[in-house]
């Protein structure tokens, strides 16, 4: 069984080919190369090196977000198009869960974050491999929640360093930071997580942004206001 995994949900690009229980090849970078320029060539190159033809792929794993809206869409679009035209299953996995998957054996809470600007983050909180929370929230609220739990916390993700001072200030000696080697998503981890989850239909596979667009939020506010008048 050959899996192709793709994660373009944030700055890093991760592509991996897993055959049965073996990671055949993996690509990982945090270079600021537009995913539209980088993703398909990386997929093409990895498959070529592994001497695998597109029609030999048995399943696709893709990171469905949250993250950069455009980034998430590139990976999901590539993944769903491949799955549909090759007529193979696709499994979409939370991008936050993929990041947290870098630290499977940590005894405590694993928290993956991506910066979402204006002091907000996309945060995933996991304990014993179970999802506690995946949400777009203010960093202040996240830290308050983690502090109240009282458990040790490991932060994962390349954006942790942006907020580390603030994190450390609240959680003090309860908090740890995964080192650089574990800060980028791995598409092999993505595939391993995908193996445990349900496939979706290619046509209906869509990103999970965890956030409505500003235009829609304003529109909904307007509707509510008008409704109350």
């Amino acid at each position: 069984m050959i899996w192709l995994g793709i994660d373009t949900s944030h700055t890093p690009l991760a592509v991996s080919i897993v055959k049965d229980d073996q990671v055949l090849a993996e690509y990982k970078s945090s270079l600021k190369i537009t995913h539209s320029i980088g993703a398909m060539p990386a997929i093409e190159e990895l498959l070529k090196k592994a001497e695998i033809e597109p029609h030999e792929i048995d399943a696709i794993a893709v990171a469905k977000g949250p993250g950069s809206y455009t980034g998430v869409r590139i990976g999901v679009t590539i993944g769903k198009t491949l799955a549909w035209t090759l007529n193979i299953p696709i499994v979409s996995v939370s991008s936050l869960q993929v990041l947290a998957g870098n630290a499977p054996y940590f005894p405590g809470i694993v928290c993956s974050i991506m910066d979402a600007r204006r002091s907000n983050v996309f945060a995933g909180v996991y304990e014993n491999g179970q999802v506690v929370k995946e949400s777009h929230m203010s960093l202040v609220d996240l830290l308050k929640m983690l502090d109240e739990s009282g458990n040790p916390v490991l932060f994962v993700g390349m954006d942790v360093k942006i907020h580390w001072e603030q994190i450390k200030e609240v959680l003090r000696d309860k908090v740890h930071q995964a080192n650089a080697a574990f800060s980028l998503p791995s598409a092999a981890v993505l595939i391993e997580l995908a193996k445990e989850q349900k496939a979706t239909e290619a046509h209906t596979t869509v990103p999970k942004y965890l956030r409505v667009t500003e235009a829609e939020a304003n529109w909904m506010k307007e509707q509510k206001k008008n409704g109350h008048e």
Binding site: S36, G38, M40, Y69, I74, T77, T81, A215, E216
Partner: protein
């Protein structure tokens, strides 16, 4: 005998998710357009992020429908053509990445197509294009005069310096409180009108083939504003007619002058605003008098569609110009010749 050439076209540059299969650059085998207009109406215009989200939801469904309607499989295709730009970058990227993944999975060549080249080649789906040809491209994002001396050769001889014609239509429609998109409503009001407010024409400097519509737009806004201050009711029909007459006269006069100067064999109109009945009528009458064949595609091929991308892609692919897996969305792409 030359083998038939089938191109799959994909278009997602704005708010239509579209896929089509065209045979030999002129015969539509299937043509699927999924419009998002209902979703954008509530915002009074296209919201780029919302457009991109809808494209991801629709893209594979639309491509599959194009194949199903044509009763074809990827094996029957010769190449995949996709709009590379210009357009909304987030929207373009969905079509481009779907096209790349599809081309890669099926071992097909990939061709990046300029959106305006697509609008021009929509005419090839109606009757053979003859060169030299002059194209008036008018849409929500473009107002251009393009001279084609040969197939696949483009020379931009005039363009708008500010608003596109369609943009001016939308803004004037807002002044009149008409629903989005406003163009068809203004066209209708103007055609029903028994009078017209005299608005200025922007000719720019002598001999220029460029356009400008922001002054006209301001004149319309001022007119409405002044009437309001005096407590007068404006006649929306007269305002719409005055605005439309100004737009049509400038477009037609400049197109005619260029057609004469470059001694063209064909004049074509393309783009969403080419669906405007008032504009079509004046252009038709003008070029009939001038004895130059004038064509405008049916309305369904004037608005954004993928058949036009497949038609242009057919010409570019025949010229041996293909792209690769690193193709990116190019919102400011220039119209370059491929022959």
């Amino acid at each position: 005998m030359k083998k038939d050439q089938y191109i799959l076209g994909i278009e997602t540059s704005c708010d239509e998710t579209a896929a089509s299969i065209v045979k030999n650059g002129h015969e539509i085998i299937s043509n699927v357009v999924s419009s998002q207009i209902e979703s954008h109406k509530r915002f009074g215009g296209v919201v780029p992020e919302v457009a991109s989200r809808h494209h991801v939801e629709q893209i594979t469904i639309v491509i599959e429908e194009a194949l199903n309607q044509a009763n074809m499989t990827p094996k029957d295709l010769d190449a995949v053509a996709v709009t590379e730009g210009p357009g909304l970058v987030g929207a373009l990227l969905i079509g481009i990445n779907a096209a790349k993944a599809f081309a890669f999975a099926n071992g097909l060549p990939l061709v990046g197509v300029h959106h305006i080249a697509g609008h021009i080649y929509a005419n090839a789906l109606v009757q053979p294009m003859e060169f030299p040809l002059l194209a008036l491209v008018v849409s929500g994002g473009h107002t251009e005069l393009v001279l084609m001396k040969e197939d696949g050769q483009f020379e931009l001889i005039g363009e708008t310096r500010d608003d596109a014609a369609g943009e001016a239509y939308d803004k004037v429609a807002r002044v009149l409180n008409l629903p989005y998109p406003g163009g068809p409503h203004i066209d209708r009001l103007a055609n029903e009108s028994d009078g017209a407010v005299p608005f200025p024409r922007a000719w720019l400097e002598e001999g220029s083939y460029d356009f400008s519509f922001s002054g006209l737009k301001s004149a319309v806004i001022n007119y409405q504003h002044n009437a309001e201050q005096r407590g007068e009711e404006i006649n929306p029909n007269h305002l719409a007619a005055g605005f439309q007459q100004s737009v049509i006269e400038v477009l037609t006069t400049k197109t005619l002058r260029a057609a004469r100067e470059f001694n063209v064999k064909q004049v074509i109109a393309a783009g969403g605003v080419a669906a405007n009945k008032g504009l079509r009528k004046v252009l038709e009458e003008t070029f009939e008098k001038e004895n130059i064949p004038f064509y405008v595609p049916p309305i369904s091929l004037c608005t954004d569609n993928a058949a036009m991308i497949a038609a242009a892609g057919n010409s570019k692919f025949s010229a041996g110009k293909t792209g690769d897996m690193s193709m990116n969305g190019r919102p400011g792409l220039e119209l370059n010749s491929w022959n």
